[in-house]
Symmetry: C2
Subunit: 289 residues, 2 copies
């Protein structure tokens, strides 16, 4: 295959359209360019090949016999290319964009805004996967992940989205039931944390408290924790933003607030080519910023 002295493929395309419709002006309209562009392309093609392909007779154009022969070869070839590309593009459009995130982020931040996205990009189908488990983009076949991280530990390639103030949260009653001046004071109170995580012990460690001593931590599914906290079953460590309303109404209190210590970032699978992914990420950033 002699790829090197192939003429400009755009010129071939222009000629093929011209052959189809028999007019520079109309061919230009079809290709969304001016007649002059088509005419220059065709001229360049004639010059590359070394034969006249088009002839003028009056106001009409006609292909020379060489031009007709070339058009006979080009038309099916371009048709085949067009079909092949179209098939893949349709397949691509049918695939929804798969997004994974923690359930609390889905409920508190993403879902309330989602109707705006769907109004602006009605063609994009989102497939949300709220999951406590941190899914792997490649292995679990996800396109985009929205995850929590501390500010100082953003993974590579992540784009920061929403800043969060983390704090220890409990009912005023529970907090009043014991001293809460220093972090160490809290180790005698009951704690609740998400199944499979180690947030509470980490928190004490970061605050210089040795928790090798007794520490009552009950693990439960994330969606049940706030209910239990509200019943004064224990303290938990969470973002003030997720319990904003309860804090405002004094149904909950926040202790040892760490402002903007971390937040949610967006992570996109490497090399994701779909424009829908770019659109969704840009929309997330707009909503966040």
């Amino acid at each position: 295959m002699d790829w090197r002295d192939l003429p400009s493929l755009n010129a071939l395309k222009a000629f093929c359209v011209l052959a189809d419709c028999g007019s520079y002006t109309r061919a230009g309209a079809i290709l969304n360019v001016t007649h002059a562009a088509v005419q220059q392309q065709v001229k360049a093609l004639e010059s590359h090949i070394g034969l006249r392909l088009v002839e003028r007779s009056g106001r009409k154009l006609a292909l020379t016999s060489d031009g007709q022969q070339l058009a006979r070869d080009l038309e099916p070839a371009f048709w085949q290319i067009s079909q092949g590309v179209r098939t893949l593009m349709q397949a691509s459009r049918r695939q929804p964009l798969r997004v994974t995130m923690s359930p609390v982020f889905a409920v508190k931040w993403l879902m309330p805004r989602l109707s705006d996205f769907q109004a602006r990009y009605p063609d994009v189908t989102l497939l949300l996967n709220p999951s406590g488990r941190k899914l792997d983009l490649e292995k679990d076949d996800m396109d985009i992940a929205l995850r929590y991280a501390r500010r100082d530990a953003l993974p590579d390639g992540a784009e920061f989205l929403v800043s969060l103030d983390l704090a220890v949260v409990g009912t005023p009653e529970l907090i009043a039931s014991a001293p809460t001046k220093r972090p160490a004071d809290l180790q005698d109170l009951p704690w609740l944390e998400e199944l499979g995580t180690n947030e509470v012990a980490d928190w004490f460690e970061r605050h210089g408290v040795d928790v090798s001593a007794s520490l009552t931590v009950t693990q439960m599914p994330g969606n049940l924790i706030m209910e239990a906290v509200m019943r004064s079953d224990g303290l938990t460590y969470t973002a003030c933003q997720w319990v904003e309303e309860a804090l405002r109404e004094n149904r909950l209190q926040a202790l040892f607030v760490e402002p903007q210590i971390g937040g949610f970032y967006v992570h996109c699978r490497a090399g994701e080519p779909r424009s829908a992914a770019r659109q969704f990420i840009a929309w997330l950033q707009e909503q966040a910023g």
Copy 2:
């Protein structure tokens, strides 16, 4: 046919070559560009289609199933295009370049230089047609004409080549046989001119001589004229350059020399696309200049 959202054909070409050879670096070499160019084109194509087409596993590349499907469509299409173009280009190369000119120009100017052209462009076949008749480029199917014109009457689109000094020419014997001070003196001498032309009468008219009175003009084929002039059969009107040697050796004399009054120009058929034509014309200009 949806010509408008076809992806960049160059990107498709790059992908097709990549699919062929399985390496950005090699594909770049084949297309005579860097690996980075290929890789950007393929990435742009993935982004246009919205699907990944290529995957890296270690140092090797592999097409995704979508990529394989696309390559299956593209390869025969590009092959067909390539064949169609190649066929026409070969046909074009086989056609010789048809050049018409006056016989004297062929003999005195072109032929002596022709071996230089053929040495430099051995691929170009010239078909020379020396002809007294002024052929029509279109009707007589000629590509290039080399013709005489006065400087002040160059036809449109003509490129001037060689400047000529025109003069009345005759043997010293003939010229000595009568007064030759003023143009009018010459009207009593015998004249020779090319068949079918009117050069002599025109010359007298330009010099303000009324030749409605007797004027002896013998018309004959151009190639016989100089022989007859040498035999003192008459005067003729010609370019000093064509009889340079005879003038130098005083076998002929020139009267009323009009320096640089006209010359030969080259005229190419409108829209001639062959590079051979451009090469020949450039060579003519170089030889002339």
